[in-house]
Symmetry: C2
Subunit: 181 residues, 2 copies
């Protein structure tokens, strides 16, 4: 099963790219070489989105709720303004979902001690729990993948994804986590 998936991958790669099979130099990157990344990322992302869509519907939350929880859980202490640019959400669209999360007891807003205009977001234990619930099926998918491809491939995978990011996203990810107050 596992082996046949990897064999299928080879078949796909062969028809999609001359470049990775060493039949061309870097200058010969074709439109097909480039499109393979577009196509695979599109479908892989759709799949992982659907994983969480089921859980989100179950608890009556939406994508913006999910993204906000992500930041509150994994990057605690970020200000609303930081999040607006990071999550590409507009000022007007963030407040309803954010209010929901606060009301439901998943997220706390604390006034920053260094700049009392800013509100820092922190997930509550209940919020952490909810986040883990939402990504359940996504994690199941990834666990299967990790077992299939092994740590070395995974490392290359992450490296390439890292390179695809915008510089400002790389900066954001490398920023030290704010200490929990």
């Amino acid at each position: 099963m596992t082996a046949s998936i990897l064999k299928d991958a080879e078949r796909y790669l062969k028809t999609s790219s001359k470049w990775v099979s060493g039949e061309g130099t870097a200058e010969d990157i074709t439109s097909d070489d480039l499109f393979a990344t577009t196509e695979l990322m599109f479908l892989a992302y759709l799949g992982t989105l659907e994983d969480t869509a089921l859980q989100l519907k179950e608890v009556g939350l939406g994508r913006i709720h999910h993204r906000l929880l992500y930041v509150a859980v994994k990057k605690p202490g970020k200000s609303v303004g930081d999040i607006l640019t990071f999550l590409r959400v507009t000022n007007q669209n963030i407040h309803r979902p954010l209010g929901d999360l606060v009301k439901l007891g998943y997220v706390e807003q604390r006034t920053s001690v260094t700049d009392r205009r800013k509100r820092e977001l922190h997930a509550t234990p209940k919020g952490v729990e909810m986040f883990e619930f939402l990504v359940q099926r996504q994690y199941d998918r990834f666990r299967g993948v990790y077992d299939t491809v092994g740590p070395e491939s995974l490392k290359e995978f992450w490296k390439v994804l890292w390179c695809i990011l915008d510089q400002h996203d790389r900066d954001w990810l490398l920023k030290e986590q704010q200490p929990e107050s």
Copy 2:
């Protein structure tokens, strides 16, 4: 520049995963290991989406137009029903954008010879041109990435993406292209 990006990637990986650095067995995959994939894919996909958003706005088309063009250009001869399930678009939502593309001369609908109920989608030369225009900036991004990471990493990258896909998407991608009639 290129080297520093890869160094940053190593830094990110170190804080995100015990597993890939060989400090744990497959049974020890942590929530952080799994979340790294979620996070990187989310941001990478957002970035590539924004690349095409600019071009789409310029020509007054939307995401569904883009997806339909993708199939018409890269998988010519697919029926409307195939596309509905593949692109996760509903019957009611496909027809307006599809009609637009036909009116604009980017896509042709041909009645299938084997089943005259089915309409097969084919991109016109003008449609192919438009598609290439839309993905311009995305391709620029990827070209830079390919140059940075090299063909071997890219191959591993594609392999992992392939494993993330749903089985029915893998099947779809391996299906022989319908011959152009």
